[in-house]
Structures are given as C-alpha cells and as structure tokens.
C-alpha cells in the first residue's frame, strides 16, 4: 500500500478489487484443491503441530486445520456479504421512500429506525439469533434485522438533498412518472455514499458473524466456520494453540483486506 505505483486512487482501487475478487474465487473454489477431508476424524493424529503433511496442524480430533479453514472460508465471507447486501437493499429502499415521500410515512419509518437503534446492537443480534435458533440463516436474518437502519438514515438524508436539485424538477416537468424519477434520477444520484458505507461494513459484518458463530449461535458443528473453529479450539489452548491462532489470523487477514478495499473505494 505504501509502494509508489499504488499511490493513485484508481490503481489502489483496482488493486484491492482484484485482491478481493481473488479472495472470493479462492473461498468458492478452494475446497476443490484440498489434500484432506475437512470433516475426517483421525484419532491417530490429534493436536499435531504444523508439519509437512498438515501445514497448519490438526485439531483435537485430528482434522486438518488448513482444509477446515479453506472449507469454512466461503461460509464466513459469503454470509457477511449477504448480510451487507440485504441490509444495503432494505435500508436504501426504506430510506429512499421515507425521504422522497416525507410526511407521516417519513415520521413513521424514522421512528421505527429510532426504535431499532434504541437497542445496543450486539445485545439485540444475539437475542434475535438465539431465539430464532442455531444456524447460519438465522444469524443472517438477525444481523439484517438490526443492520438496515444505518443505511435507511443515510439514504433518507441523501434523497432529501438530491430531491431539491434542479434535474429532479426537470425530470418532473418533462413528464416522468414518480417511479421513474425515483429509480432513474434520485436513486443513482444518492447511491455513492451508501456504496462506500456498505463496503466499509463488510469487515465488521465478517467480525459479527464470526462472533455469533463463536458463541455457538451460527453454523452448527462439525461444519468448519471460522468463529466456530476458534470456539472449539479455545478449550485446548494450552496443548494446541495453533487451532486458535490460525482461524483467528484468517479472520484478521480477510477483515484487513476488506478494510483496505473499503478505504480504496472511499
């Protein structure tokens, strides 16, 4: 990032987009190139430190940690992306309606946003995910239910300012219908801060999702989701620290890449 040729914003954005793209492809296709079965229990080789055969060691029942990380990558990363996409779409939709139509609808929707934001987010996410029951889908639902409000606020304020611009009046005068104005004129012109905000949220969504899995609310074992792997590993921190360190580092690395990507969009 500090190298001279990456200094222009465009190249930086291109560079980090490619990195993120590679990461996504790797997460999806990685399982095709695994040396071991990530679910295979091998009691002859439990808690092995990293070695030639098992590059990142094995866990407490002899499963290959590297293969488990590769297998879990898609779940950890794509779930977070789904959450970001859903919250972005729902929040933008509600915020746009609220800002465009104003009046009682605006008041109602914004009070709803206030009420959602009256909960400390982690408390509410854990409670909703926990009540819905263990599972990746339920975690995604819980995080979406809590997460959309920020986008709604932002979209509303964007639409409020775009609405007053001359080109909107021009579109109206030239006979465009309300949905046309909303979709073709207002939305494209209010989208950019929302996209920036969404890209900045990918990292924190990965962290929250891993956190829910870590609490045992996300992906059920034996599936190797990264947060769940950390939770399994922590019982044996004393004898097999690698079972904790590598999943932790994997999360750290991916969140850092997403952070860089978000920064480069800004």
């Amino acid at each position: 990032m500090k190298r001279k040729r990456f200094n222009s914003p465009e190249t930086r954005f291109a560079f980090w987009s490619i990195v993120v793209l590679l990461l996504l492809v790797f997460a999806a296709a990685g399982p095709l190139f695994m040396r071991h079965d990530p679910l295979e229990v091998n009691l002859a080789q439990v808690n092995m430190p990293p070695c030639g055969e098992y590059l990142l060691g094995t866990d407490y029942i002899g499963r290959c940690i590297l293969c488990r990380l590769i297998r879990g990558a898609a779940r950890s990363i794509y779930s977070a992306l789904i959450v970001v996409a859903l919250t972005f779409v729902i929040g933008t939709f509600i915020g746009t309606l609220s800002g465009f139509f104003g009046g009682p609808l605006d008041t109602l929707l914004m009070r709803l946003v206030d009420s959602f934001q009256a909960f400390p987010s982690m408390v509410f996410t854990i409670a909703v995910a926990g009540m819905l029951g263990i599972g990746t889908k339920n975690c995604i639902i819980a995080m979406t239910v809590i997460g959309w409000t920020g986008y709604a606020r932002l979209a509303r304020s964007q639409v409020l300012s775009v609405k007053e611009r001359t080109f909107v009046s021009a579109a109206r005068v030239s006979g465009c219908s309300t949905p046309q104005i909303l979709l073709r004129t207002i939305l494209p012109n209010s989208l950019s801060p929302l996209v920036v905000s969404a890209s900045m949220h990918i990292g924190s969504a990965i962290l929250s999702f891993a956190g829910l899995s870590f609490l045992g609310l996300g992906t059920a074992p034996p599936f190797p989701e990264w947060g769940a792997m950390l939770n399994e590993g922590r019982q044996r921190l004393q004898i097999a620290p690698w079972a904790v360190m590598f999943p932790g580092l994997a999360i750290l690395l991916v969140v850092m890449i997403m952070g860089m990507f978000g920064d480069s969009i800004k």
Binding site: A118, P120, I126, M131, L237
Partner: protein, 322 residues
C-alpha cells in the same frame, strides 16, 4: 436547552413503547412452542398435561395483546417475572451481575482513554512520519481483530505461558485484568484514529495560527486549546461505547469466564429462559437509551457549536409552529 431536553425525553415514550413490544415479541421468534421446547430439553417428549399446566401458570393461553399488557404492567411495578431455570426474579438475577459489567465497562473505557489520547496526539504531532505510520498500521490491524481472538491471545500469553493470571475469573481484582485489557485493545484502535484526525483538523484552524503568531508555546497550544476542543467529541464516543458495553460484552465475558450480564444473557438464551431474555433485552435498551440521552445533553453543554445549533433549531421549530 431545557426545551431540547424535554423534547428528547418526551420522544423516549413512544420509542420505549415500541422497544418493549420488540422485547416482548422475542419469545415468538422461536420456532415451535416455547414451553414444549423448554420441557423437552432432557430429550423426552413432555406430557401434554404438563405443557398445559405450565402454559396456564405462565399465562400463555391468553391472547398475545393481553399477555403483553400483563407483562408491561408488571414491569411498571418493577416485576420482570421469574427466571424459568432458577425460579428467581429476573430483575434481581440481572442486578446481581450488573455491578461486574459496570466495573468492567468503566475500567475499559478509562484505560482506553488513558492509552489512546496520548497515542492519538503523538500520531497527530508526527503526522505522516514513521511514528504516525507505525501507530496507524498497528491500529488498523487492531481494528480488524475479532475481540475473542484478542482475548484468547491474552489468555495464552498471560495465563498459559507466563502463568501470571487465572484463566477463570471470578470477578475479583485479578480476574478483571484480562477482560479489561482485551476490551481496551479492541476499543483503542478507533479512539486513536479519532483523536489523531480531530487534533490534525483542529491544528489547522485559524485560531491556532493566531496563537502561534502570538508566540504561545506549541505544547500549551496542543494541550490547552486543540485537545480541549476535541475532548467533547471523544467523550461522546466514549459515552456511546459505555452504552454498548453496559449491555455486556457477551463474547469477551464468556472467553474470560467473567461473571457479567452478557454471559448470563447468552446462557439464558441457550436455556430458552424467555422471561430472562425479555427482561434483559428491555433493561439494556432502557439503559442504552438513557445513557445516549445523557451523552447528548452533556455534549451539547460542552460544545458551544452544538448548543448553538440546537438553539437555532428550536427557534425555527417554534416559528413554524406559530
């Protein structure tokens, strides 16, 4: 100012109403019948008579709106119901662990401010120099670390390798060290960044140039003027974080086996202890909202610009009303 506060407090009423409905409805999110799930936890199918009896006892056969009104009326009288698992009142169960969370919250925020303000100032003073870059890289990595990973690394270093601290904390003096450190490390990254950005912005202001021109020492400009002006913003962030942390940082509390409300709440969720979960979520939302209100009011008091904006807004809204 008074007008602003009263308006904010009145707005709380409808919001708290919706919040209480959300908290109450949490129970209906779970698939299947809550009583049946609770009774069949041992693995066997519960007898229909037992299910009926428990439903009757908890008032679950009433229509939902009636259940809600009973629940909220009881809460108005300070009765949050009883925990299904322990049979003890929900409120006293939560209050038992709350002091621990309170202590953890304030120690973490205090330590975070203590560490990140000097670091932020240092980074701002050395803007774009090696020190600044180092602080920035470290805080960037730090912000990408999951809290539980930080906590586990700390446990590994201090409890497993150095054997300095107990792995299992009991809420006593040494047990609070690890969760405090973990939270501080998690929080500091964003504080350092905020302090740095705020100080850099402040140092570019006209009045700082004036002060320099008048020959005031750089140090007293930095600490006396720039830092003083940025403090309200920093304290506001701290206030919002306090609101979040008081809800219990379930993950850190669980990793460090610290007896706080967050850990208790996750246990209640796992046990499907509905009265506990409802009471916990509602109480935490109330605390969160009240803390945020206090923070906003204090911020408005401390920051003349915000105070002026509120006054102008008030005047404008009064004019439109008239």
């Amino acid at each position: 100012m008074k007008h602003y506060m009263i308006k904010r407090i009145i707005w709380l009423v409808p919001i708290m109403f919706v919040v209480s409905i959300f908290s109450f409805m949490l129970m209906y999110l779970s698939p299947g019948d809550p009583v049946e799930i609770f009774l069949s936890k041992g693995g066997d199918v519960p007898a229909p008579a037992a299910v009926e009896a428990m439903k009757e006892r908890l008032g679950l056969n009433e229509p939902i709106w009636k259940q809600y009104t009973t629940w909220i009326t009881n809460i108005m009288h300070g009765d949050f119901g009883s925990s299904i698992t322990s049979g003890r009142p929900v409120l006293s169960e939560i209050l038992k662990y709350f002091p621990n969370t309170l202590r953890l919250t304030f120690m973490s925020i205090g330590l975070t401010l203590l560490i990140s303000i000097p670091l932020g100032i240092l980074a701002a003073v050395k803007e774009n120099k090696a020190t600044d870059n180092l602080i920035r890289v470290v805080s960037f990595i730090n912000s990408a670390m999951p809290g539980f990973f930080v906590a586990l690394i700390l446990i590994y270093i201090f409890s497993v390798k150095l054997r300095l601290l107990p792995t299992i904390s009991t809420g006593n003096a040494s047990g609070i060290i690890l969760p405090t450190l973990a939270l501080t490390i998690c929080l500091s990254a964003s504080y350092v960044r905020q302090v740095r950005a705020a100080i850099i912005k402040e140092m570019g202001e006209e009045y700082i140039r004036m002060a320099r021109a008048r020959g005031i020492r750089e140090q007293s400009i930095l600490l006396g003027s720039a830092l003083k002006r940025t403090m309200p913003a920093i304290l506001t962030i701290a206030g919002i974080n306090i609101g979040h942390l008081l809800g219990g940082t379930a993950i850190i509390e669980i990793v460090c086996t610290y007896p706080g409300v967050g850990r208790q709440a996750v246990r209640a969720i796992a046990d499907r202890d509905y009265p506990m979960v409802q009471g916990y979520v509602l109480l935490m939302a109330v605390i969160f909202v009240v803390v945020n209100l206090i923070v906003d009011v204090l911020h408005a008091h401390a920051d003349p610009l915000v105070k002026r904006r509120i006054l102008i807004e008030n005047r404008r809204s009064r004019r439109t009303q008239a």
